[in-house]
Structure formats: C-alpha cells, structure tokens
Amino acid sequence: MGLVPPSTPPPAGRSPGGTRRLVLLAGVAFALVSAIAKDASAQACCAGSGALTPGRLALHEDALVGLQGHAATVFGLYDEGANYARTPHYSEYDFEEDLFGAVRVFRRGQVALLLPLVETRRASYPPGQTAATQVGGGIGDVNLSLRYDFLVAGQSHIVPGIAALVGLTAPTGRSPNEASLPLSANATGTGAWQGNFGLALEQSFGPWLLNATELFAWRAPYFAPARAGTPSSTSIDETLAPQWVTLLGASYAFRNEAAVALSASYTFEGDAIINGATSPGSRKAVAVVSVSGAYPLSDRCRLQGSYFLNPPLSGFGLNQTATTGLTFTFIWSWS
C-alpha cells in the first residue's frame, strides 16, 4: 500500500543529504552487526522472513494480528524521462496505519487481510504565489492475499523455497481522480480493483535468508466522475496498466531470533488508458531500498521496524515522487 501521488506532479522539497547519511549509517550498522555476531545460529527461515515481510506467518504460527505505522516525506521527483530533481516548492508528509491479520488455512498456506488508514499533508509554495496547504485522508484500499509455500526455504540445499502469492485489492480508498482537494491530499487509493499474482523464491544459508519475489498486478478499468464544480466532460474512464514488482532481499537472523534485513524493490507500470486512448508518458516506475529489523519480545509478540528510501538519483523512478520514511510494526501471534 502506498499513497498515489497527485496527478499533477508537485515540485518542492527538502535536501536528501540527511537521508544519504542515514542510509550510510544503516549500512555500516548492518555490516557491523553481521561481522560481530559470529556465533549467530538462528535458522533464517523463521526469523529472517519476519524482518523482510512482517505480516507473514512463521512456520509454527497459526495466526497473527498486527498494526503497522508508516510515515514518509517527499523530497524529490522523478519526471517522465526518469530524471531526478529536488522539489523545493512542495512538501508532502504521508502517514498510514495498517491493521492486518493472517491465518493459516492449510498446512503451508496463509490468508491475510490488510485494512489501511491513510493521511496526507501536502503543501505547495510556488515563488511569488500564496502557499497552499492541504490535509486529507481516509480508508485506503483493502487487500486480501493468499500465500502458499510449496517448499519452505532450507528444506533443500538445491531447490529454494517456492511460494505462490495471490491477492485481491478492493478500491475502498479514494482515487486521485476522485479526490476533492486540488492537490489530491485526500486521495487514499488507486480507484481500481486489482488482482495480484506472484512467485517468491527464498533460500537460507545458515542464518542468512535470500529472497526474490516477482509480483504482477492486473488492474480493472474504473470510472471516475467529474470533480464537483467541474464539467461532466472531465469524468474519465481509466485503465491502469499492469504493474510489475521485483523484490530482492537478504536477512540475517541472530541466536535470539532477532533479524536484520536489507531489501530493494523496483515497481514498473506502463502507460494508462484514459477514455479509450493510451496516455503517452504516463508510465510509472520507482525503486525503493530499505533496511529493516525484527525483534521478538516473546514467543507471541514481536516488533519490526524499517527505514526506506527512493534513491535520489536519475534512473530510479518515472513520474513518481521520491520519498523516504519509517515503518514500525507490532505483531501478536498464536501458534
């Protein structure tokens, strides 16, 4: 889940220099922790997967519920040509609280439900003009997903763990086209039904767990009525292009089942179709790198936190804002 940026790309921002230092620090901490913990021996598939995907049931768990807080700020923008630029006259803060739960439905399967609540603050201060600040939010797009692990990481030293992922996202949020505020600060969803299909491969090497996931999202056409006060001809029929997400991650599990992880993802979608015609230059892409950690408070509850960043470099995004932020997750599980 993530907030869809306003349809008119905003300019504005803050220096990414601080975020670069944070990433560097996180990387150094990750390397130090890995080097120091020579006798770590927790099996990676149990603890490591929790650091990479917090809402996922571990092998021994039957159910979990969790609450994830997410805070991000926009510091830049990738344009249509994938060029990165800072956004000195625009600022944006995104917050999201996700309530989620997962239950084991078969021996190796799990069904998860995610209910997001989204809030956004956007401010635009063009030089010589009056600044505009907007705050909006609401329920985001609800997601139901199924994961089935045909083979668990570590069962074979040759064949990696293989999991199939299927999901359905309902357009319970408000799409950017339906947002009433000019900066779309009250947009909370994509507006379209979305079907997700994916394949995840992961393998453990002692305390290390490597994960590669490919996801495909098909989005149904949707109709966005004209905004209040605008001609009815501004209503649109839109079909978002299929979206591909590639996720690579590595985690390291400690003896106490705490884990740290480093992951990167790249999301790409083609040009949208608006009112029956392809809208050239509307394709989107964005890369995200994140460092995360999970810590078990007890057998039944654990904390997970992460720092994420869209690299402030050209070529790492298309028609998207560049953001950085933190997530914090609390999970209670039953086994």
Binding site: L59, L146, Q155, H157, L168, A220, D299
Partner: protein, 193 residues
C-alpha cells in the same frame, strides 16, 4: 473480469487445499531401517521398538534455535521415562549428518540417549517428518501412536503450556486413549535433500 478474478482466487484456494493436505502419521508403521548411532551400535528400528514398551523418535536440527530450547525438555523426558521402558532416540536426518558431528552435538547438549544418523532423510520421508523437534512415539509393533511436538510452547514454557508428548506417554503407559494423538512441531524445517 472481476468475477473471473474472484473465481480464480477461490479455485486456487480449493485446489491447494485438496492437493496439499498432509496425511496423518498416526498408525503408520516405522520402516525397516538400520541406522548408526552415536553409541557406536547399529539400531534396527523395528527391533528397537520391540525391545521397549514405547520408543520416542525425536527429529533434530542442530542449527535450529528451537532445538536448543527443547534440549532440556527432551533430556528431562528421557530421564523420567527410561525406567518405565521408554527409549528415546534423537534422529539426525539433515544433510551432512555423521556420527562424528552428532557425537559432538550429543555431548554438547548432554543427551544421555543416542543420536541416530538417517542418511538421505529416508526415515524422515517415510514418517513425513519435516521439522526439528518433531517427535514420533512407536509402540512395540513399530506403529506410530503419537506424532507432533514436545509441548505447545516454542521457546520458554508458559504456565499454560500443554506437554503433548508427556501426556501421550502417560496415556499410553496407562492404556488409555490419547488426549492428543497429533500436534504441531514448532521447530525449523529439516534440510534433508
């Protein structure tokens, strides 16, 4: 299209549920296998079962933190029931299992019972063992009477923990129906191939 998507989701759920259910291991016979033990002797599992009132097979993975947490519990259980005709064996079905490695581990963990090496995970596959600490209780005829974990807690034992394996042994020794014949093992996946 949305209807098709919903239907595909539902069919996926049903298909995986049918295809992936695991048959119960209870009442399955232990295969005729002779495994080398860290006590320096070969162990024919059928003979071992016949020579005891009940036999506990405790699948082990030395790299699994749950295994370490369960060490004290299996040691205590073995000590408590040895005089009542119950034999305990740890089973190493993982790749790289060897008498040398398992002897070191058995000593380090204070196991007073032998570790049997299961090359290629033949025994694990025959019984359907997939996780560390997964345990099987065999009767004298070599049939599985209990299958599952030692207890209901993965790490520290809480006050409300259920001692599944101990309950099963008590029930079997008393000739009573088992309160729980199958439970979930809480350890890591065994790497058998």
């Amino acid at each position: 299209m949305t209807r098709t998507l919903r239907l595909a989701f539902l069919l996926t759920v049903i298909a995986t549920s049918i295809a992936c259910q695991r048959p119960s291991a209870v009442h399955a016979p232990v295969p005729r296998l002779v495994l080398s033990g860290t006590d320096g002797r070969p162990h024919d599992l059928s003979d071992e079962a016949r020579s005891a009132r009940f036999t506990v097979l405790f699948f082990s993975a030395w790299g699994c933190p749950c295994q370490s947490v369960h060490d004290a519990r299996i040691r205590e259980l073995s000590a408590r029931y040895r005089s009542r005709g119950i034999h305990v064996f740890a089973i190493d079905s993982e790749l790289g299992g060897s008498i040398a490695r398992d002897t070191v581990e058995a000593e380090r963990r204070g196991y007073a019972f032998p570790v049997l090496v299961d090359p290629g995970g033949v025994l694990a596959r025959a019984l359907g063992a997939e996780y560390a600490t997964e345990s099987f209780v065999l009767d004298a005829a070599g049939a599985v009477r209990y299958h599952g974990g030692l207890d209901s807690d993965r790490k520290q034992l809480h006050d409300d923990a259920r001692p599944f394996l101990q309950d099963a042994l008590d029930d079997l020794l008393a000739g009573k129906p088992l309160r729980t014949a199958e439970s979930k093992a809480l350890g890591c996946a065994l790497q058998t191939w």
